[in-house]
């Protein structure tokens, strides 16, 4: 397993990304339940994360291992479960927390919330409330990059449930037909809302479907961040070199319920217990220690992540609400000549 281990600086960077995602989502989950911050110090009163909150706990290795290879000019599309993707692409953690709270200082000024996170300043073109809707958008972005002869690629995250919607097939076909610079990343966490994906999916899943269209696919242990990192390095290079689309099929697990309020009572507890044994952060930590990285460095990374998230929570709680009038802005532009 340690054959994938990168240099220590990179290893620590990957660990840090995962730690930040985990800390962010733990805090958001608590803030969605009671309006109290992650560590119980800062009461946020009536201010809390409202609405559906989809957590990617246990899946952090996939965005961390993939997005570390991306540049700001590269694009990313995401799903309803997109906090990790967004952070890994380099988006500002504080502004994301503010968006979850619906505050004016959030990425979207409180208009989008958790399901519609986006940070165009780092190429993150949006989470999506509609399953599989990010795939054709990614293909379009990649097509634009190709037409504009940009030295940039698009990465598209989607779930194992999404591969059963038509836009998955249509997007892969399009990307292959036009030889587009897009890396499709299936985060296969085995569940689609309250239904197991396996019994609802014919054949061998995302990889097999990609290969049927002539798109080379790579399967990887999505809970091993160093394995994801190594596989993604090759794939990103290949896509960047103009060889057309590729697909990365990352096998992981959805540790929490579908949304934060879902206790996932429909799931076999043994399945969860087995998955917890392969927690990507614990595994990365163990691998780092084996490679000689000091425990203090890892602990310090954890502490930094917690402190950063705590500060973001406080800032989000204190930030102003959007003006009601903002509900009427950015709806659309009418008339000619107002958009170039």
């Amino acid at each position: 397993m340690d054959s994938h281990f990168p240099d220590p600086g990179r290893a620590l960077a990957l660990y840090r990304t995962m730690a930040r995602i985990r800390a962010f989502e733990n805090a958001a989950e608590i803030a969605s339940q009671g309006g109290v911050s992650a560590y119980g110090q800062q009461a946020t009163g009536s201010v809390r994360v409202r609405g559906p909150l989809h957590l990617s706990t246990g899946q952090e290795a996939v965005p961390a291992g993939v997005c570390v290879h991306l540049k700001p000019a590269d694009y990313l599309t995401s799903t309803h479960r997109g906090h990790g993707h967004t952070l890994a692409k380099g988006a500002d953690l504080r502004r994301m927390m503010a968006e979850l709270f619906g505050k004016a200082t959030g990425f979207n000024g409180g208009k989008g919330g958790s399901m519609h996170i986006a940070d165009f300043s780092v190429g993150m073109l949006g989470a999506n409330g509609v399953v599989a809707a990010g795939l054709p958008i990614a293909v379009g972005a990649a097509h634009a990059q190709k037409l504009q002869k940009k030295d940039a690629i698009t990465v598209c995250f989607f779930g194992d449930g999404a591969i059963n919607r038509g836009p998955f097939l249509e997007s892969l076909n399009w990307a292959q037909v036009y030889g587009l610079p897009v890396l499709f990343v299936c985060e296969d966490n085995r569940w689609s809302a309250t239904t197991a994906s396996g019994p609802m999916t014919a054949g061998d899943g995302a990889s097999a479907r990609a290969e049927a269209l002539g798109i080379a696919a790579t399967q990887v242990d999505g809970n091993d961040v160093f394995a994801v990192h190594a596989a993604a390095a090759r794939l990103v290079d290949t896509v960047r070199s103009g060889s057309g689309p590729r697909l990365l099929h990352a096998l992981t697990y959805r540790v929490k319920g579908h949304v934060s309020v879902d206790p996932a009572a429909y799931r076999d507890p043994a399945e969860l217990a087995a998955a917890l044994d392969t927690d990507p952060i614990a595994r990365a930590r163990a691998a780092c220690l084996r490679a000689g990285i000091a425990a203090a460095a890892l602990d310090g990374t954890d502490a930094d992540a917690h402190a950063e998230v705590e500060a973001a929570l406080v800032a989000a709680a204190e930030a102003p609400w959007p003006d009601a009038a903002a509900a009427f802005t950015d709806v659309q532009t009418t008339g000619a000549g107002q958009w170039h």
């Binding site: 409202r50 609405g51 559906p52 619906g102 505050k103 979207n108 409180g110 208009k111 989008g112 919330g113 399901m115 519609h116 999506n128 409330g129 509609v130 399953v131 599989a132 449930g161 999404a162 059963n164 919607r165 038509g166 689609s192 809302a193 309250t194 239904t195 609802m200 999916t201 429909y266 609400w321 959007p322 003006d323 009601a324 903002a326 509900a327 009427f328 709806v331």
Partner: protein, 324 residues
């Protein structure tokens, strides 16, 4: 199975599940298809049905709205009576060709050879803090489409009776339950039947005709109670079915009151209120006002979301303006 005769207290969701259960008991051709229906649906509106009828009649599907809707059309043409679950109206848009170009057109296009008796359930309306892709009210889109029946029940009793009527209808029915009503409880009498296309008069009055449907009916009722205290007696009509809509009841009322206010949660511009308003104006020449949401996507933050809500106060104010 003994039929319950005494009304039983139940929620809007339970009333719907019971309606499906009764129709499934009565007709082995009835099947349910959709995501997570085996676990009772995400709102409990199919609760217990797979345990009762098995997975060959309450069929869990992949996330495949186009295929769910299209398969529903095929099943219907082949003699089944599918209930097609879309989860929320926003996702029904992923099965739009299948609904609009296939289900709605089949009977006409093929000279009456085929019938598509499917019920497409697509919960609508604002769902707290669920933002722009999970909170839309799109009933006007479907009412615009020849070939589709459109139903928007506002109470548990109506949801039970209208869902049964929809499932007995021989043509495609778009059935829009409101996500904020699932928990609403009242006694439901299973023996009550309500034909599609028949409105309900909830209050009698002479000052104004107020027409609404779905969850907005409850805000209208609240406004009417407040206005009654001020001596303004309103004729409140719950349309219940948008297509075919109960012109007789509405026009009779408008003729008497000479004032019509139509209220809906959907965006006001090009909403179904415009259809009712124009029809009433043509037929009765009455004074008219419409009240719906501004033409904006539903925002996430509470303060933004509130801009899309039409509350009792706004309804009262609009009613007073019409009466003055």
């Amino acid at each position: 199975m003994a039929l319950t005769t005494a009304p039983v207290d139940m929620s809007y969701a339970e009333a719907a599940a019971l309606a499906v259960q009764r129709e499934m008991e009565a007709d082995p051709k009835v099947v349910v298809i959709g995501e997570d229906v085996g676990r009772g649906g995400i709102f409990g509106q199919y609760k217990g049905l797979q345990q009762r009828f098995g997975d060959q009649r309450v069929i869990d599907t992949p996330i495949s709205e186009a295929a769910i809707m299209g398969a529903g059309v095929g099943m219907a043409l082949a003699g089944l009576r599918p209930v097609v679950e879309m989860r929320v109206v926003d996702f029904a848009l992923c099965g739009m060709d299948e609904l609009v170009n296939q289900a709605a057109k089949n009977r006409f296009m093929f000279g009456g050879q085929g019938r598509v008796p499917l019920v497409a359930r697509m919960p609508g309306g604002i769902w707290d803090a669920s933002a722009a892709q999970h909170s839309q009210s799109l009933e006007a889109w479907f009412a615009h489409m020849p070939g589709l029946v459109v139903v928007c029940p506002s109470t548990p009793q109506d949801n039970h009776a209208l869902l049964r009527a929809a499932m007995q209808c021989g043509d495609p029915v778009v059935y829009i339950e409101h996500k904020a009503l699932w928990g609403l409880r009242e006694p439901v009498d299973e023996t009550v039947t309500i034909p599609l296309g028949q409105a309900a008069r909830l209050r009698e009055g002479t000052a104004l005709t107020l027409v609404s449907w779905g969850k907005q009916v409850h805000a209208c009722a609240e406004a009417c109670a407040a206005l009654a205290d001020q001596g303004i007696a309103i004729d409140l009509i719950d349309l219940r079915t948008l297509w075919p809509w109960d012109r007789e009841t509405v026009l009779e009322s408008c003729g008497r009151t000479q004032r019509l206010l139509v209220v809906h949660e959907a965006v006001q511009a090009a909403g179904f209120g415009a259809e009712i308003a124009a029809t009433a104006a043509e037929a009765t020449g009455c004074r008219i006002a419409r009240l719906g949401a501004p033409r904006i996507p539903v925002g996430y933050a509470a303060v933004l979301e509130a801009q899309s809500r039409v509350g009792a106060e706004a309804i009262s104010a609009a009613a007073r303006r019409l009466v003055d």
